[in-house]
């Protein structure tokens, strides 16, 4: 296993190095630069030149790249150009906020999807089942930026129950944090909940059509027990696979939802970084994403090699 890891590690590092160079270069190719952004529209070229010098942007590109690589390797990511504060703290805070939002959304996905699917398959009236199916189709079809505005109108403006946007720390003020989290998490969860509900409903309907269900019914097993003890466990594995796939979608969707609800996560951070040409923030964030993918790939390879020894011998 260790030998296998040593074989795979260099390719992972090579990918990271290539990605770092690409990210660095791509950012420099985008028109506009941090110095002009920080100088403001009324600045003179002398001001821009002074800011460029202070940021070290007047140095040759290779020297800038090596300086950044050194920062990454030593773990000292340095200060942000425009947003303010240390990049590592900004990324840490953003990561925590996005993680919080994604986790809450994931919980809501399960809480919404499972009862909906169970209720749809157990509904006496076909009309009700049809209505639930239509509801899930609607939740799937309406994009989060529309759902977000509708939720704000209903729960913040109309009912005045929840805040329209903002953030509170889960550790400092958990009661407020839950309220700030409710609408963005719901907005993020709805499409994934709809997908999961439909998969689970299909799975349950298939399971309920099986012979063992008919046998159990004939034997007089209570219908609630059949659903919970027999049909649901058979339908769950495929639903869990779908739920796993939805986690990626939730993280991607968080970028949009964070902006709607002024949620200070990674989506907001990268948007701020790009719009202000804050090179350190954007570079480090993108490299972190690539590193995440490389790590997942390595872990998957390791898992395959553990499950199938032939892979190790190749």
């Amino acid at each position: 296993m260790r030998t296998f890891l040593f074989k795979r590690l260099p390719s992972g590092l090579a990918v990271l190095l290539a990605a770092s160079f690409t990210v660095f270069l791509m950012l420099r190719l985008i028109p506009g630069d941090p110095a002009t952004t920080l100088a403001g529209p009324d600045a003179s070229p002398a001001t821009v030149a002074a800011i460029r010098e202070r940021l070290g942007l007047d140095a040759p590109l290779l020297s800038q790249y090596l300086h950044w690589l050194g920062q990454v390797l030593t773990g000292d990511l340095g200060p942000s150009y425009a947003i303010g504060g240390q990049v590592s703290e900004l990324i840490g805070d953003g990561l925590a906020a996005t993680f919080q939002l994604t986790l809450a959304a994931l919980l809501l996905v399960v809480l919404l999807a499972v009862p909906t699917a169970l209720y749809a398959v157990s509904a006496r009236r076909r009309a009700l089942a049809g209505a639930l199916r239509a509801l899930t189709t609607g939740a799937l079809a309406v994009p989060p930026f529309v759902t977000g505005v509708l939720l704000v109108l209903a729960f913040a403006v109309g009912l005045g129950l929840l805040p329209a946007g903002g953030h509170a720390s889960l550790f400092d003020a958990p009661d407020l944090a839950v309220q700030y989290l409710a609408l963005p998490a719901l907005c993020l969860a709805l499409p994934s909940a709809a997908i999961l509900a439909r998969y689970l409903q299909d799975g349950l309907e298939r399971a309920l059509g099986e012979d063992y269900v008919r046998t159990a019914t004939a034997l007089g097993v209570p219908r609630r027990r059949i659903l919970w003890r027999h049909a649901l466990p058979n339908a769950l594995p495929s639903a869990v696979t779908v739920l796993g796939l939805q986690i990626g979608q939730l993280i991607a969707g968080a970028v949009v939802v964070e902006r709607i609800f002024a949620w200070p996560g990674l989506g907001q951070l990268i948007e701020q970084g790009v719009s202000r040409r804050d090179y350190p923030v954007v570079q480090d964030l993108l490299l972190l994403v690539v590193a995440g993918y490389v790590a997942v790939q390595l872990l998957t390879d390791l898992l395959y090699s553990w499950l199938d020894p032939r892979v190790r011998w190749e």
């Binding site: 506009g32 403001g40 600045a43 157990s122 929840l162 009661d175 059509g209 019914t217 219908r223 719009s275």
Partner: protein, 536 residues
């Protein structure tokens, strides 16, 4: 029927979960939510605790929530930027202008400008301390001026700060600034220049610690989310501020900000779009105040290195072709004033006949184009890619097409636009907004790059313009008839040359909850909450 109906392949009817059970579950969920919600995040006035005064007198206490669309950029602390509101919360200036543009005391108790205009002597307050506890002295004014002279601070009034050639201290609380030449906008500098703590200025531009002498102390910042301030208990202004604190919330999405205002979670904002303000103005829960400056002056710039726009008659034709009234109504929600000049009504350079010199006259525009020998013209027009700027650009494109000028819109993002602006690499035409016409006219011509007489985006140069600008700037009196005559010379040249074609002046629109009182802004949009309070 109480058993599964096992039809051929169809779904089984399974009445396993009753509606009663579902209702019970929902109620339990709501109960849990209610339990968790000991406080309400939707409460419009957290911490409001007025303790004194009658209905009409100021009340102490409460936290004011201010909504902004753009986060604070620490590196631009010493420049006017999209979010300059917090400057006057944490810091003070030496003087502040009243409505008549006359300086009033702040950290400077009194001042005396020398007869030759080559120096100004300031007498400073002796009862001021920084939030760190350190005493404010003349050395802090020296540091503040030198700080603005540093180009990395991006201060728009750097050219005026650079005229301060020497400092002469007479004790800790009297200071003479010696100028290289007289300047007519010295008090614009004093209105603009915040006095930072010299010992923590680098922390301030990094956004980690803001230390000033102002009414509120900086307590916390969550980048992209919020800034928090608490009352400065040792503020030099007796009994002020009334508020316990201020919370600035960053809400980038316009619809969310509007909802936040409607629900009372945002009590004060200047970031509601013009078209949205219309939906609030008849609601008695809100008070709308329109300032005559602060949101920029919209203009079309012409890059004179392109032969198509080198003839000033072509530029004048463009000025006549634009329907400014429609632009203000449709693109700016009616919250702007049409104008052919950069000056707002409060400026000493303002004259009604100048502001209305160019109005919508397509026939006159066509005649000027014919006179210039132009039969067909196709020009690119750069604009910021945000929705508001795109709407402005589309109206300009339509109006110019009516007089035979085909315009290709070139949307670019804000950093690219700024780079093109500063590096003089704009296409033949661009549209943007400029600032710095809100105080004395000389400030515009020496501080706003598009109007700079020495080097500007348009690559326009003219000995007459340079002479007029320098004469208007290099004098100590700012409001005398002679000064106004010089401002008129600058205006006449701008109106004739049209390298910058002014369209409309947009003022900041203040949307405040009806309970918010006593809020003011200075000429550079610094929020002054010394006298602000939340009425009961």
């Amino acid at each position: 029927m109480n058993a599964f109906s096992a039809g051929s392949g169809g779904p089984l009817s399974l009445p396993a979960i009753s509606r009663r059970a579902l209702l019970r579950g929902s109620l339990a969920g709501a109960g849990l939510l209610a339990l968790s919600a000991c406080r309400s995040a939707a409460d419009p006035s957290p911490g409001a605790d007025a303790v004194s005064g009658g209905a009409a007198s100021p009340r102490r206490g409460g936290v004011l929530t201010v909504g902004v669309g753009v986060d604070f950029t620490p590196a631009l602390l010493f420049a006017q930027s999209a979010n300059s509101l917090l400057q006057r919360l944490v810091f003070n200036t030496l003087t502040r202008y009243d409505a008549q543009l006359q300086p009033q005391p702040e950290l400077a108790k009194s001042w005396e400008v020398a007869a030759d205009g080559l120096s100004v002597t300031l007498k400073l307050r002796e009862d001021v301390t920084f939030h760190s506890g350190r005493r404010f002295t003349a050395d802090d004014v020296v540091f503040a001026v030198k700080n603005l002279q540093n180009p990395v601070r991006s201060a728009q009034l750097r050219s005026t700060a650079l005229t301060v050639a020497d400092f002469r201290k007479n004790g800790d609380f009297e200071l003479t600034l010696v100028l290289a030449h007289p300047v007519s906008n010295l008090f614009d500098l004093f209105e603009f220049m915040i006095i930072p703590d010299s010992q923590s200025v680098e922390d301030a531009v990094a956004g980690t610690r803001l230390v000033g002498t102002g009414p509120f102390t900086f307590t916390d910042r969550k980048p992209g989310s919020s800034l928090s301030f608490a009352r400065n208990e040792k503020y030099w202004n007796p009994g002020r501020p009334y508020l316990d604190g201020v919370e600035i919330k960053v809400i980038p999405q316009a619809e969310t900000l509007l909802s936040s205002v409607r629900t009372g979670q945002t009590q004060l904002t200047y970031a509601v779009r013009g078209k949205d303000v219309a939906t609030l103005k008849d609601d008695e829960r809100f008070r709308i105040t329109q300032y005559d400056t602060g949101a920029g002056a919209f203009y079309i710039g012409a890059n004179l290195s392109f032969p198509e726009v080198q003839d000033k008659r072509v530029r004048q034709a463009i000025a006549w072709a634009i329907d400014r009234d429609r632009l203000v109504q449709q693109a700016l929600g009616g919250y702007a004033t049409v104008s052919s000049v950069p000056w707002p009504k409060s400026s000493p350079a303002y004259r009604e006949q100048d502001a209305t010199r160019y109005h919508h006259d397509p026939e006159k525009a066509k005649a000027l184009l014919r006179e210039a020998g132009v039969t067909s013209l196709s020009l690119p027009l750069a604009h910021s890619s945000d929705a508001g700027s795109t709407a402005v650009a589309q109206i300009l494109q339509y109006d110019l097409k009516q007089v035979g000028i085909e315009v290709q819109l070139q949307p670019v993002d804000s950093p690219t636009m700024q780079k093109q602006l500063i590096s003089q690499s704009m296409p033949a035409l661009w549209t943007l907004s400029h600032s710095f016409s809100q105080a004395h006219p000389a400030t515009l011509a020496v501080s706003a790059y598009p109007f700079n007489e020495a080097k500007n985006t348009s690559k326009f140069s003219s000995p007459a313009y340079t002479a007029a600008v320098q004469k208007a700037w290099n004098r100590s009196d700012a409001d005398s008839p002679e000064a106004k005559a010089l401002y008129q010379q600058v205006t006449d040249l701008l109106l004739d040359e049209q390298f910058i074609i002014d369209l409309a002046i947009a003022g900041l629109v203040e949307v405040a909850g009806a309970q918010v009182r006593g809020v003011t802004l200075n000429k550079y949009s610094y929020l002054n909450l010394d006298d602000a309070y939340l009425a009961g």
